[in-house]
């Protein structure tokens, strides 16, 4: 029902596309109408002021003491978690996005089973994060975990304790789990981007004799590059704030060596009971965050959405 009204609205709008959009309320937006417009914005403005602006200002105030930062920079656990964050974001985001780019090409295949495969493949994204990360935590257990049991039963390999013996094995497990969880989502996004490329372009490329890699390099990638860039930037910011992977898979262990800034900040604030130190930990990511946020806000404003 709603979709038919929507279609009707679409056809109705068709002729209006040719002439400039008029500002209907402009000029008429006075007196009671202006009051209405303000009243409609007030709820969101209130939410923003009370729950975003105030916390940001309050956080800046909590973390304004320079002493906190000298304390942080002399703390090896903090320095280690900066390295972890850079590795987690740098490796995790790029592997994930590149994998998603390749897989979105795979899912463009027109065979009967690809659609069914896609439904299975998006499952990690559909399932809430918490249960799957707890499951991975248990799966990677050195003694009773599924992974080592499989390695032993099929290959006769005695697998290591993935999460509790070495920092790099544990961090690697976290990165792989992150890719497992989020690659399907970005694959779907890039797949939608690929489907929006008109078939005529590929036909023209065919006529000119472009196949395989050339087709990708000269048609697909130039048209997908902007979307790929936006997705990578967004994913970088989201991954920077990612809490669940590290918290549930390694818990920061072994010996606090796999914390990232997001989890270390929460630990400082709630387990060590030093909220100011926690805020300072998180705020030390600002030099990286701010440029990303500015670039993204510019890029996102100009992007169109189609439902």
């Amino acid at each position: 029902m709603s979709s038919t009204t929507f279609e009707a609205a679409r056809t109705f709008s068709a002729p209006s596309l040719s002439r400039p959009r008029r500002r209907v309320w402009r000029g008429g937006l006075q007196g009671s109408e202006f009051t209405w417009a303000i009243a409609f914005v007030v709820p969101y403005a209130a939410v923003f002021v009370a729950f975003v602006a105030y916390p940001i200002v309050y956080g800046l105030w909590m973390g304004h003491n320079p002493q906190l930062y000298t304390e942080l920079f002399s703390d090896p656990i903090y320095l280690g978690s900066v390295v972890n964050t850079v590795l987690f974001v740098g490796i995790g985001v790029n592997l994930k996005m590149f994998g998603a780019l390749l897989l979105s090409g795979f899912f463009m295949r027109r065979s009967w089973w690809t659609k069914g495969l896609l439904l299975i493949y998006v499952l990690p994204w559909a399932v809430p994060a918490l249960p799957t990360f707890i499951s991975i935590h248990w799966m990677l257990n050195g003694q009773w975990g599924l992974l080592n049991n499989v390695l032993w039963d099929f290959f006769g390999i005695d697998g290591p304790g993935w999460l509790d013996t070495s920092r790099w094995l544990a961090l690697g497990s976290v990165i792989v789990s992150h890719i497992w969880k989020w690659m399907p989502f970005w694959t779907v996004i890039l797949l939608a981007g690929r489907m929006a490329i008109p078939q005529e372009l590929y036909d023209a490329a065919d006529v000119d004799g472009a196949t395989g890699l050339k087709r990708f390099a000269h048609v697909t990638f130039p048209l997908l590059a902007n979307l790929y860039l936006i997705c990578t930037l967004l994913s970088t910011i989201f991954t920077l704030g990612e809490f669940n992977e590290v918290y549930f898979i390694t818990g920061g262990g072994p010996a606090l060596s796999t914390h990232v800034l997001a989890t270390l900040g929460i630990r400082d604030a709630f387990q060590v009971a030093r909220p100011d130190l926690g805020v300072a930990t998180v705020m030390s990511a600002l030099p990286l965050m701010i440029p990303l946020v500015i670039i993204l806000m510019r890029k996102l404003r100009t992007t169109e959405v189609q439902l």
Binding site: W25, W36, P131, S135, G251, T303
Partner: protein, 296 residues
């Protein structure tokens, strides 16, 4: 030239072409098999552990030796002391999800109507504020947010979580609504106004009905966000009766004798509603996500 072409050995090339195509198809199938194993491994592990009876968890089997639904029965009947408020907590999760969805849709659509349709002067300030909230990771705001909730006197209150989820869901809502509303002709608003409709009537009778697809997409997003989110619920809810399912689930990790099979059974029961909703509204959601991303 043309003579050589005509005499060219066309028939012998065919089997080779077919062989290559079959090889390609076989490689794709092999790749698909690997992808299925990779995707399903943690989920299989979850199901397997939940079907174990308690003693079997600590064995080296890769499938349950004596599969039973005992742990599901225990979770559903609250038959373990960690699970004594399971249904109550399930209700908390539902309440938070439903309320968040409703408030997000209301606040988001009102704001986007005012900025996008009524063209409120300086409305771009509000859109930019929303965009800023969208790109700031929620976990970075968590600590000051918690302190402020203490000040508001909302600690250990479901409303503190509802406010948190609404805060992080509305920017996405405003974003989607504003962009989607471009496809609805402004002439409809104009006609209604000439007929004497008030802004509220235009919003209720014209804007909302035509926005139905966007409302569904954003509503699903907000519902899943509130149901799946963990960090804020963990910080803000501490008593057993105010907890939600994910917080209760993580509590298992604190105990030494963690009954893993009960925990995984709880995890599966918790995961089923969002997965079902996801598959039901998959098309609408993916369409709505094409422009950006979701927060995890």
């Amino acid at each position: 030239m043309s003579a050589t072409l005509a005499a060219g050995p066309t028939p012998p090339r065919r089997p080779r072409y077919r062989l290559r195509r079959n090889l390609k198809e076989a490689m794709a199938a092999a790749f698909a098999a690997v992808l299925v194993v990779w995707t399903l491994a943690p989920i299989y592990n979850m199901v397997m552990v939940s079907l174990d009876s308690h003693g079997d968890v600590f064995t080296n089997d890769i499938w349950p030796a004596h599969p039973s639904f005992d742990s599901f029965r225990i979770v559903l009947s609250e038959g373990y002391w960690y699970l004594e408020y399971f249904w109550h907590q399930f209700g908390n999760s539902l309440y938070i999800g439903a309320t968040t969805t409703f408030i997000t849709l209301l606040v988001g659509s009102l704001a986007s109507f005012s900025i996008g349709r009524m063209r409120l002067k300086n409305g771009w300030v509000v859109s930019n504020a929303a965009l800023l909230t969208y790109v700031v990771p929620a976990s970075f705001l968590a600590i000051p947010f918690y302190s402020i909730m203490l000040k508001y006197g909302l600690a250990n209150n479901l409303w503190s979580v509802i406010f948190a989820e609404v805060t992080f869901a509305t920017p996405y809502a405003i974003f989607i609504f504003q962009q989607y509303a471009v496809s609805i002709p402004i002439e409809l608003d104009e006609a209604a106004r000439i007929d004497g409709a008030s802004p509220l009537q235009v919003y209720l009778r014209i804007y909302l009905p035509l926005m139905a697809p966007a409302l569904v997409a954003v509503g699903t997003y907000a519902l899943l966000l509130a149901w799946n989110e963990y960090l804020y619920q963990f910080m803000l809810l501490s008593s057993k009766r105010s907890m939600t399912v994910p917080v209760a689930l993580a509590q298992f990790l604190n105990s030494d004798e963690a009954p893993w099979n009960y925990m995984m059974a709880t995890a599966i029961i918790y995961a089923i509603p969002p997965v079902a909703i996801y598959y039901a509204f998959r098309r609408r959601m993916t369409a709505g996500l094409t422009m950006g991303g979701v927060k995890g």
